[in-house]
Every structure is written in C-alpha cells, then in structure tokens.
Amino acid sequence: MSTKASRSAARLMLAPAVILLLGWMLVPLTMTLIFSFQRYLPLRGGFQGWVGFENYVRFVGSSAFWPAVQSTVIIVGGVLLITVVLGILLAILLDQPMWGQGMVRILVIAPFFVMPTVSGLVWKNMFMDPNNGLLSHLWRFFGADPVIWLSDASMLSIILIVSWQWLPFATLILLTAIQSLDSEQLEAAEMDGAPALSRFRHIILPHLSRAITIVILIQTIFLLAIFAEIFVTTQGSFGTRTLTYLIFQRVLESQNVGLGSAGGIYAVILANIFALFLMRIVGKNLDR
C-alpha cells in the first residue's frame, strides 16, 4: 500500500467492515447510556421521564451491589488461578514426546467446544447432583456424606465448572509458548548446573510470562461476563450473584431497564479498567 490511489482504495474497502463493527458496538452502548438516565419500566407504562443519575446511585446503593462485585472478583480470580497453574503444568506435560500426542492434544482442547449452557447442565446433573451425581457416588464409595455442591459449596462449584471450560484455552496458549522455547537454552541451563526445578523457575517461567499475561487478559475479559453457567445452576443464589447476573436480574426479573442499564455502564467501566491495567502489563512484557 504505497501509492495514494491504493491507500484510498484500501480505506474504501475497509469502510463497510469498520462501519459495521462500530455500529454493532456503538448502537447498544448508546442505547444503554440513554436508558440508564431514564425511569423505564416496560410492564408499568415504559418511559416515565428522565431521572439523571438516580439509577446510578440506586444501583450502587443497593445491598446486592458490593456482594456482587465481591463474587465477581472471587470467581474471576479463582478461575484465573486454577487455569493458569494447571494450564502451565498441562502444557509442560503435553510438550513431552509421547505416543498418541495429536489425539491427546485434541481431547484436552475438547471442553472448549462445549457450550457454556451445556457444560453447566452436565456438571449440575451428572457430577454435582447430591443424589445421582458421579461425585456423590464417589463420596459414598469412600463412606463420606455427599457434598451438596451447588448450595453448600456454590462458589467453588461455579469456579470448578468455569475453570474446566477455560483450562483448554490456557493450556493451548501456554503449550504453543513452551514449544517456542529454544531447547538450547534449557540445555545451557542444564550445563550451568540448574536442576529441573530451577530450570522451570529461571528459564521456562520467564519465557512463559508473556503468554501468561495474554491468557489472563483474554480470560478476564470473558470471565467478567460469565452468565450461562450461573443461570443454569444456582440462578444467582447462595452468594453466586455476579455483577453480570445482578444486571440481568434488575432488567428481566425486576423489569427495571433504567436501573439495569446503569449497572451495565458500571460493568463496562470496570471491564475497561481491568483491560487498561492488563494492557499495561502486556505492553511492558512486549518491550523485552
């Protein structure tokens, strides 16, 4: 793209895609913004006047707000911790030469192809059901009382389900990163007298740092919005009401579009703060 003609032609051809993407993003965002300043109750007459920042104040002032932020942070943090740690271990394991490597790699990635709703239901009914679930049978086999997962350990259950879904993603990114490590570096470290654990700490882990930041960045953005897994399991009860779920309840269960929209704007701001913060880290890692 060097001549003036080819540059303007390129702009012209890019335009439809850019306009579509911008529209796709801007229209809902603007509508949310507009609704958030209205008192809008669809089942009670719809638009009932402009209320300024009242929705924003009410959303934060509600007793459900801070617990929702807290559970969001716990779920996102827990899933990140599990997927990154297990992802690194699995990636190292899958990097070892073994029989049937291709098949095993595909199987490991498989959970990522399962839709969130389906995996939530499978976990709820086949694994975590207190009577017939696989886990309760396992507990009983060892003579223990089955755990009533979704109510007694609701947070842990949600974290487990979501981690199971996202572990393949983390593993895949980290595996490709490990494969790009120059084997001579490991050999050099071995010659330098570093035992396996030191090689991991001083060579492999720093090499993976960029991939780890990318995994954290991408996962955080998606995990802030998890919904289906909660919807089909606990329905937001037992302390699993995240910010996303709270917004859903405000809009659909309380039928208060204005209040929900204000919450949506809070979520957008929160996600952007996270993204900005993480981008900084990635940027710093990319400098090397």
Binding site: D182, E184, A189, G193, H207
Partner: protein
C-alpha cells in the same frame, strides 16, 4: 586439568547409528577441533562429551574418571552453543552469573568473577543490558563469559561462529585462540569450516559418517592426508584430484596436487589447458583451468598480479615432490 578420553564410544538413535565405535584422546590444554561435513556426527560427539546425550556403549573419561553416568552439570565442562542460548530475560550480568548462582556461590564472589570475566571479554560496559540489545559478536562473548566463570576442566564449542558475519568471524576466531593461550584450558571446538579448523587447532579430528578419518595437527593433515576424503576436505581451495593415465604414471589410482603446488605459465609446462573462471583475491589469483585432458577442471594458485584472460591457453607444471598418491581404496600410498 582436563584430559578427555573416549573409549569405543558409540551412539545410535533407534536403528540409526550416528557414531561407530570411536577412540580418541584429547590431552590437557589442547585445542581440539572436530571437523567434517554436516551430518557427520561431530555435534553429536560433542553432546556425548557434554552429557546432553547418553552414549549407547563405550566409556568417556575426564581426567581418568568415567563420566558416562554423571549428569552434565557435574562433569566440570562448559559449553558455548551455536545459538549462544543466552537467557533473554536476564541482563548480561545475570546471564554470566547464572552458573555461579546455581552453584550457590555468595553474591560477592559471583560479582567478583563476573567482573573479571567481563573485563577479559570487553563486556564491562554492557553488563546491565539484555542479550536482545547486543550485537552478534557481543552475544557470542557473553556466551563465552558464562562458560569461563565456571572455571571448567574443558570448554566445548558447538559451531560458535556460524551465526556471525565473515569479518566478525575472523575477529572472534582470533579472540578464542587468544583466550585459549591465556587460560591454557582444554577446548573442544566443532565446526564444518576447515579454515577455522586449520587456523585454531592444535589437533584436528576429521569425521565422516560417525567415524574418524584422521587425527593430527593441521600441518600433518595438510602435508599427509591419509585418504582421499581428508585430502579433499582440508585445504582451500580444494586439492585437485586426478585419475586415469596421469595417475597411472605415478603408480596410483588417484593423484592429488594442491592449487598452490602447481605453477602456471603462458609458454611451457607439463599440462596445457584453457583458462576458465579466474578469481582475483588481490594477494592471490585462482585460475580454474579447463580442457587439460585430466578429467576435471584444475585449480591453480598464482601470485596476485599474474593475469590471464578467459580463454587464454596456459601451461601447468605440478611440483613432483608435492604430489599425493592414493590407491584404489582411496588410501594414501607412501
């Protein structure tokens, strides 16, 4: 101390034998170069000595002690890799200090040794940079620095100069030779470049297909190559190998004569031919002479100011005392 002895060492990867039974002694303080075409097993041999690969059979001794079952770090050897294998996230200082840190030396001692190595290698100004900010030659020096701080029994170099440009390569060649003279430590150096082998080595080991073709000092190999392979491999440009009637005159299957041992003249000589390509290096000129009736093109070295044009008829005379004779098996006669 650093005497390295290989006894009947072999190495196979599955069904493929890379090293056939091989005996070799490298004396303490010697600069030994493994040279051979790619795929001849020279790098594998180095990795066997380093301990990065296990020997299939045979024994490797370092200072009389069998090391076949000892892990690489405990063999007291240091290696410089072809890609340098520097740790990209560490500064030069940390890179060089890494083996010392792994050995559990205290920080003051680490610093002392790093500073000393940096001084020897002209790296003092670069200690706080990362490898990514260094040039190829500087990276090479860091890799060497990381090797020397360990004060190893022997250094192993795996084609260390092949990633450098021609000018730097000559410079680093001198620096490594200088380092060897100063430290007096055993060095084993792998290369496919016979010029590096000739210029640096005390002892050259010529390898082909996993076995040793010849071991000797550079001049021994140059003066008396044991077979056709060594004759063709050592020396630049390559030795002219002539078969047929001319060889039979010397009671040999093949005779070899180096380009520098043939004189070229416009008027008279034993063989006649037509000048093809001529390469002017300034100090020397190499003529590739065709149509001599000796089979291949004959390469001749002349003084830099000798000038023949493409297509000129010239006459060549070999020095009789410099003719190498080989039998039907390719082995040297006499």
């Amino acid at each position: 101390m650093g005497q390295i002895v290989l006894e009947q060492v072999t190495k196979s990867f599955g069904d493929v034998t890379v090293i056939t039974p091989l005996d070799l002694t490298i004396d303490d303080g010697e600069f030994c170069v493994f040279v051979g075409p790619s795929g001849c097993g020279k790098s594998t041999l180095l990795r066997l000595i380093a301990g990065l690969e296990d020997v299939t059979s045979g024994e490797i001794r370092i200072d009389g002690q069998g090391v076949s079952t000892i892990p690489p770090a405990k063999r007291g050897l240091a290696m410089v890799f072809q890609s340098y294998a520097l740790y990209p996230h560490m500064t030069v200082r940390k890179n060089i200090a890494f083996p010392l840190r792994m050995a559990g030396l205290d920080r003051a001692e680490q610093n002392r040794r790093v500073e000393k190595a940096a001084e020897v290698l002209n790296l003092t100004d670069y200690l706080d940079r990362r490898p990514g900010q260094l040039s190829g030659g500087q990276r090479q020096r860091v890799a060497i620095g990381r090797a020397i701080v360990r004060e190893p029994a022997a250094f192993l170099f795996d084609e260390p100069l092949s990633n450098l440009d021609a000018a730097l390569r000559v410079g680093m060649r001198l620096e490594i030779s200088e380092l060897h003279n100063r430290l007096g430590t055993t060095m084993i150096y792998v290369t496919h470049d016979q010029v590096e082998a000739m210029t640096m080595a005390d002892k050259i080991v010529v390898l082909r297909a996993g076995h040793i073709e010849q071991v000797g000092s550079p001049l021994e190999l140059y003066r008396a190559p044991r077979n056709l392979f060594v004759a063709g491999f050592i020396g630049s440009p390559k030795m002219n190998l002539i078969e047929g009637a001319e060889a039979t005159k010397h009671d040999a299957m093949t005779i070899g004569i180096r380009p520098e041992h043939i004189s070229i003249s416009a008027d008279e000589g034993r063989w006649s031919g037509v000048v093809g390509v001529s390469e002017h290096l300034g100090s020397d000129t190499f003529f590739h002479v065709q149509d001599t009736g000796l089979g291949d093109t004959v390469t001749v070295r002349a003084e830099g100011d000798v000038s023949f044009k493409h297509g000129d008829r010239v006459y060549l005379t070999p020095r009789d005392d410099m003719i190498h004779r080989f039998d039907a098996k390719g082995l040297r006669i006499g």
